[in-house]
């Protein structure tokens, strides 16, 4: 047992850090740092810079653009990327559909989609949740019926993030009504321009326009767009959600938030005392830092276990990461509001903040503190709610 990083590991980490700080323009990274949302164009710009260096999809198989890295190197990549406030490579492309196609797709699908996904030539979105299928995802009702050489899809998806940006959507659809609900689901790739697809934005309480409803009305999709085998979609979905969970702790993002919180608390005055000198506030800050460290060590342990596990098999321990990681992301948003105090109140459209149309009211970042808090309530709900994670742990680890 040796829990220190080797010299090579440390050098690898520093090279990544340098690259992220120098190659990705600060005008983009600044937005994430200050709680703003980069535009679609900025996401694409950042990802293409990464992709040109082989740093957009290191988690993919090497033959499709991935890196032959150790688990520790993969962890550094994610941690440094997030700490540098680099927009994460579009997750729908890189951590969701890409690995599924690489693992289960046909050769033709791999050739057609993977390189384009890595470079965001296509922007993907996710068609999983439905109004009646949230935590109980397998009860989904959007149906696909094979008519000749086309699937005809009817139904509705919801919580579809960035459908407004998307060229393609990967859809879970029911293809057999007569069997157990998990056994009649298929995984189908659909061009968003196909006639019969419409979408409607759902504005979230932070004012954001991130999620949408997507409607399918007799949408005809070529049969070849089915991934893997018919009625095996649930297996692919579980694979996808398992991948999502390991990265979902977002420790690097929380670290970057904590750094920003410290900076702002050093500037913010309470009378003539800096907020950072308030002992109660300091204890709260340190408490979250400790939990972040504990989570990071846990993530490294899970990473280290990977090579002892069967390839592609989800590690139930990743549910621990999801639960704690989401709670800590939320905790940082509460600390940020503590810094702002009453200045969480003023509401500005993001457009005005980005372009400096209005002078700020109160401390820097005040306008994004409450929206961030409101928005981040989602993280304990999505990706398998924290209660679903507890169900997984209860069954897989405690044997209930």
């Amino acid at each position: 047992m040796d829990l220190s990083f080797t010299a090579e590991e440390r050098q690898f980490r520093e090279e990544l850090r340098d690259f992220f700080h120098t190659a990705i323009p600060d005008r983009i990274r600044r937005k994430l740092r200050e709680g703003l949302h980069p535009s679609k164009e900025e996401h694409v710009e950042a990802q293409r810079i990464l992709n040109a260096r082989g740093l957009a999809v290191p988690n993919w198989p090497v033959e499709w653009g991935g890196q032959d890295w150790t688990p520790v190197q993969h962890y550094f990549w994610q941690d440094e990327l997030q700490q540098a406030s680099v927009p994460f490579p579009v997750p729908f492309n890189c951590t969701m559909v890409g690995p599924v196609i690489a693992q289960f797709g046909s050769l033709a699908q791999k050739q057609r989609f993977l390189a384009r996904a890595a470079n965001v030539d296509d922007w993907w979105c996710q068609g999983f949740s439905e109004p009646g299928a949230g935590s109980d995802l397998a009860s989904l009702r959007t149906a696909a019926v094979l008519e000749g050489d086309h699937w005809v899809i009817n139904g509705q998806k919801t919580w579809t993030s960035y459908a407004q940006n998307a060229d393609w959507i990967f859809v879970l659809a029911r293809t057999d009504m007569t069997v157990k609900k998990q056994e009649g689901i298929s995984f189908i790739l659909v061009d968003m321009k196909t006639p019969g697809i419409t979408w409607r934005p759902i504005q979230t309480i932070d004012g954001g326009r991130e999620v949408n409803e997507v409607f399918f009305d007799n949408v005809r999709v070529p049969a070849e767009n089915l991934v893997g085998q018919v009625n095996k979609g649930w297996d692919y979905a579980k694979f996808l959600l398992g991948n999502e969970r390991t990265g979902i702790a977002r420790i690097g993002i929380s670290k970057a938030r904590m750094k920003r919180i410290r900076e702002l608390a050093e500037q913010e005055l309470d009378g003539d005392r800096r907020l950072i000198d308030d002992p109660v506030f300091r204890k709260k800050l340190v408490s979250v830092e400790i939990e972040l460290k504990a989570l990071e060590m846990t993530q490294l342990r899970v990473v280290a276990q990977e090579r002892h596990l069967e390839k592609g098999k989800p590690n139930p321990m990743s549910s621990v990461l999801k639960i704690k990681g989401s709670e800590l992301q939320q905790a940082t948003t509460e600390l940020m509001m503590d810094v702002m105090g009453p200045y969480i109140a003023p509401f500005f459209e993001e457009h005005d903040l980005e372009f400096g149309n209005e002078p700020p009211v109160g401390p820097p970042d005040a306008a994004t503190a409450a929206p961030m808090y409101f928005n981040m309530r989602k993280v304990s709900i999505y990706g398998g709610s924290n209660e679903i994670q507890r169900n997984i742990l209860a069954k897989a680890v405690l044997g209930f």
């Binding site: 047992m1 829990l3 504990a294 060590m297 280290a304 044997g399």
Partner: protein, 374 residues
């Protein structure tokens, strides 16, 4: 970075795990508590035979030559078994002090005795109003023609009643809470008056009065840096012991939930209870991560970095053990607040660990004062 154990470490783990399994079930443990010393001399001899008393003692001194990782393995196993022998007092604390705050001749003279299980040491350090300030030393040391003469009261001296030798802190110069001017002395237990008693977790401790006692030897006249280091190692040990105890307590609780029936079914079938058990598991994993971190950082030479890491670990473990202990009792129901059932005894040991070497609040305070945890 490598979380896997070496071949030697695996062998050590197997042997200490087997020892605890074979000799430390709940009924056997009761007989050890009932023995004359309040613990088992026979077990102590067995630990010596297996090399456990010399795990972190160098091979030159008759030990195993191991480090933090080896101590962690022992701590976890002893935590699982709720082992009550004076391992922590003698091997961890006193052994650590000898290694970090004593001269080479003193080490040569006494470390082999610890490793062989021949001499029992205890650390007579805490004083009535020290609370959690580890450099609070009011006992005085005066140089005389006969040697160093020690006067003062030492409290909560773990296994001070059965120790042969005491390592005593006493002030050579400076104020009660100065880190400079703390001396560390060797005292024969026969030279002091002592009042032994049981502790809540079925171990032993003593109040020790030093009434002009002449020290047998001087370990150091500026002992604080070495003491701090030994205490940091001891904290890492306690964190790992707590992890072992928590894991066993969770396992006991989960087993119980699967057999206890109410409303016509096993209470393990109730989701609200399952989720509470899962929350225990989550807390244990975080604690385990920080116990490992503490183990690694206890070997750090930079005292400031070491202190931050140890404090962070102690806070996490302290919070985890509170939740795990309380929830284990709650999920069991009334049976866990009885002496005759084992769960409550884990709860008690965990509770005392939290109040050892600085409690959660004290370490949080220390980190808040230092500015940042990392």
């Amino acid at each position: 970075m490598d979380f896997d154990f070496s071949e030697d470490q695996r062998l050590l783990k197997d042997s200490v795990d087997r020892l605890v399994r074979d000799t430390y079930d709940f009924e056997q443990r009761k007989t050890y508590i009932a023995a004359a010393d309040g613990w088992s001399r026979e077990n102590w001899a067995r630990y010596a035979e297996l090399g456990l008393l010399g795990v972190n003692v160098s091979e030159d001194h008759g030990g195993f030559g191991g480090g933090g990782a080896e101590m962690m393995l022992v701590a976890e196993a002893f935590g699982r078994g709720l082992v009550i022998e004076p391992y922590y007092a003698c091997v961890v604390l006193s052994g650590g002090l000898l290694r970090h705050a004593a001269t080479a001749p003193i080490q040569d003279a006494y470390l082999p005795g610890i490793a062989a299980g021949e001499t029992l040491f205890a650390f007579a350090h805490h004083e009535r109003h020290a609370r959690f300030v580890a450099h609070h030393v009011g006992t005085t040391a005066t140089a005389t023609a006969a040697g160093w003469v020690l006067t003062g009261e030492k409290s909560l001296v773990l296994h001070g009643d059965s120790a042969d030798k005491l390592l005593v802190t006493a002030r050579v110069s400076g104020g009660v809470r100065d880190t400079g001017g703390i001396g560390l002395f060797l005292v024969d237990t026969n030279a002091v008056s002592k009042r032994g008693y049981a502790t809540q977790d079925a171990m032993r401790a003593a109040e020790i009065t030093l009434d002009g006692v002449v020290a047998e030897a001087v370990l150091s006249l500026d002992a604080w840096p070495g003491i701090a280091r030994a205490l940091d190692e001891a904290s890492a040990y306690l964190c790992a012991e707590a992890v072992g105890a928590m894991e066993e307590l969770l396992a006991i609780t989960v087993d119980y939930m699967k057999t206890r029936k109410q409303f016509g079914r096993a209470i393990a079938e109730f989701q609200v209870l399952q989720h509470r058990a899962v929350d225990m598991k989550v807390q244990i994993e975080l604690a385990r991560s920080m116990a490992m971190y503490a183990t690694m950082m206890a070997a750090e030479d930079d005292a400031d970095m070491r202190a931050r890491a140890i404090s962070a670990a102690k806070v996490q473990v302290g919070r985890s053990l509170r939740l795990v202990g309380q929830e284990a009792v709650q999920l069991h129901g009334g049976i866990a607040v009885t002496m005759e059932y084992k769960a409550g005894h884990y709860f008690k040991r965990l509770t005392l660990i939290e109040k050892s070497l600085g409690d959660t609040e004290a370490h949080l305070e220390r980190l808040a004062t230092m500015g940042t945890a990392f």
